[in-house]
């Protein structure tokens, strides 16, 4: 994705991860800033369906040629779906970080945790 963008309907974690909450299922991924820092993504190693994730702790790694980055969970819950298309097409994380580059879907443990996350403007402020 050529230009920086931070969709307003998403919630953001200061470690450059986003969450899209839909009822009690949330989708996670990394932000435009994160993929731009990383460079061309070559590998994403997803956790297994059924794994528990905890807010603020890392649950996966994403690799570019010269760097490895932790992917931090914005919210806690249990992984119910993993984006297996990223195995053959990790570039989606760079090209569509909020769309085809989604990483996992999680059944939330505590929807109240979302209050601790940032809105798009507050997150963009942290980047300057």
């Amino acid at each position: 994705m050529a230009d920086a963008s931070y969709p307003e309907e998403l919630l953001y974690h200061p470690d450059h991860d986003w969450a899209r909450v839909d009822g009690d299922i949330a989708t996670f991924g990394i932000t435009w800033f994160a993929q731009s820092e990383l460079g061309e993504v070559v590998f994403f190693d997803p956790p297994e369906v059924g794994t528990s994730v905890k807010a603020n702790e890392f649950y996966a790694e994403v690799e570019s040629v010269k760097a490895v980055s932790d992917v931090v969970a914005p919210l806690s819950g249990e992984i119910v779906e993993v984006n297996t298309a990223l195995a053959d097409n990790p570039e989606a994380i760079n090209e569509e970080p909020y769309g085809a580059g989604w990483m996992v879907k999680v059944k939330l443990a505590d929807k109240g945790e979302a209050d601790a996350l940032l809105g798009h403007e507050a997150y963009e402020d942290t980047l300057t």
């Binding site: 460079g39 061309e40 070559v42 590998f43 690799e63 570019s64 040629v65 010269k66 990790p90």
Partner: protein, 501 residues
């Protein structure tokens, strides 16, 4: 693909040895079978059915293939190689000659020690020399590389604490440390804790005091640091670490700067590793072999790996004898087979004998002189675009930051490095240490003459000047190397690590 343009090497497609030769060709001539042939010695189920698909080529084909391949390499004998942290100094050819003497080269590691006295004496004398250079009395030559020596050091630390009845959990290392340090710590079962640097690039003493508690097993440092700066507070650092009962580990990668001037043992280090392929001229070989012997203090000595080379006093007025001592009840055990990379010891020993005390001091003096001269000339010519990252002077290496070059001219350290290839020089180390943005770590070493250093400055200045008018040139460099910029992302996404045969 543009086949019409490009250098002859560029036009030549890379073909592997597997694409050369033809079925039935061979180089090896097997000796004739001179014993009766017996069938069925190996049960069919354990037998290989299909031979491995190794090449089938004659000796001339093999020679031509590998000789041509060698010409696609830049090397130290051919040109300047200022890779910071690697100490790319000249590899004396005497060392190859003596290492090839059959008495050294064809000696079996398990030969009866009574019939390997020359080898054991050499190893013992080398241990003594390294002990003197380190300022620590007890040396093990066993580790095979610097990182192997680091692993030994951390395992020794673990054994030392366990022997005192303690189970510590953390090892401290500064953010500027070489990646092998934290990797080693994890392999040895400890948690890595990073120590901050202060504004001058030294260890932040307050942060160190905060983090050094009774769970800390060890602090790993190199001195001079990877920024090329001597740690001014080293005595205080040693006091803090020892005060908490922890050990102090010295990464010897930068020993080239201080021989004759200071010794890690005198700075308070308990364990030191040497990189014989850095300071002591073992050729780098394109990525090894090397050796990483360690020197330790009295309190760490009991835990050294097995076996140790020891000297036994003469009996009946004869000469002293040398032995491999396996009887070491507190030893951590072994880190590898046999007793280490003896071929490397032969070369190092020859180097130390060639140089002697004065020669080793001369090494450090000229290494530091060359680095400071190069730094001064670069600052004079391109200091505004490539300023020094920390401090005013340096020891044997220094770090420049390419941040202004990137910001003002849109040319990154990476591009500068690639353009330097077109000037027939190997670039310095790039993007290390991590604490410096767009880092360029430069170590000329003592075996380069002033003329070479001047030529390097001219090349850098030319690239920066070119970047002012035509930044695209650097961004698309190199142009004259056997291949141009390679798709590393593709190689990582869809790894192809062997020829499919």
């Amino acid at each position: 693909m543009s086949e019409a343009v490009g250098t002859p090497q560029q036009r030549e497609r890379a073909t592997t040895i597997y694409e050369k030769g033809a079925p039935g060709r061979r180089a090896f001539v097997a000796p004739a079978l001179d014993v009766p042939q017996v069938d069925g010695l190996i049960p069919r189920a354990l037998r290989r059915a299909e031979p491995p698909k190794l090449p089938e080529a004659t000796e001339p084909e093999i020679v031509r293939h590998y000789v041509n391949l060698s010409k696609r390499n830049f090397d130290l004998d051919s040109g300047f190689y200022p890779l910071g942290s690697c100490t790319m100094k000249h590899n004396p050819r005497l060392h190859e000659r003596v290492a090839a003497l059959p008495g050294h080269a064809r000696l079996h590691p398990l030969q009866d020690p009574r019939r390997a006295q020359g080898a054991l004496e050499l190893m013992f004398e080398l241990q003594q020399a390294l002990a003197e250079i380190a300022g620590l009395p007890h040396v093990s030559l066993q580790p095979s590389a610097g990182s192997h020596g680091e692993l030994a050091g951390v395992l020794l630390t673990r054994a030392y604490h366990a022997d005192r009845g303690e189970q510590r959990t953390k090892v401290l290392t500064p953010d500027s440390a070489h990646g092998t340090n934290p990797a080693t710590v994890t392999m040895a079962g400890y948690e890595v804790v990073k120590v901050e640097l202060d504004a001058d690039g030294g260890v932040d003493l307050d942060d160190l005091r905060d983090k050094t508690d009774d769970q800390v097993a060890c602090l790993m440092l190199t001195n001079p640091s990877t920024l090329g700066l001597f740690e001014p507070n080293i005595e205080e650092i040693a006091a803090i670490v020892h005060g908490a009962g922890a050990t102090l580990y010295y990464d010897g990668a930068n020993l080239n700067a201080i021989m004759g001037y200071s010794r890690p043992g005198d700075m308070g280090f308990d364990i030191v590793h040497f990189n014989l392929h850095k300071t002591f001229t073992q050729p780098h070989g394109g990525g090894g072999p090397g050796a990483g012997p360690i020197a330790v203090s009295d309190r760490i000595e009991p835990f050294l790996p097995r076996p140790q080379v020891v000297r036994r006093a003469p009996t009946n007025g004869g000469p002293p004898t040398f032995e491999l001592d396996e009887d070491r009840p507190k030893s951590i055990g072994k880190l590898r087979g046999f007793q280490g990379n003896y071929g490397v010891f032969v070369r190092t020993y020859a180097y130390i004998r060639s140089l002697g005390a004065e020669g080793l001091q001369d090494v450090s003096e000229v290494a530091v002189l060359n680095a400071n001269y190069l730094l001064a000339r670069l600052r004079e010519r391109v200091g505004d675009r490539l300023p020094l990252a920390f401090g005013e002077r340096c020891m044997h290496e220094f770090v420049l930051t390419g941040a202004p070059l990137k910001k003002e001219l849109g040319v990154r350290t990476l591009d500068l490095a690639k353009r330097l290839l077109d000037h027939g020089m190997h670039p310095p180390t790039v993007y290390f240490p991590l604490v410096v943005d767009e880092a360029l770590l430069i170590e000329p070493t003592e075996t380069e003459t002033r003329e070479t250093l001047d030529a390097f400055v001219d090349a850098i200045a030319a690239i920066v000047a070119e970047a002012q008018t035509d930044p695209q040139m650097a961004r698309n460099a190199p142009y004259t190397t056997p291949v141009r910029r390679l798709d590393e992302a593709g190689a990582a996404k869809r790894p192809r690590v062997r020829e499919i045969l």
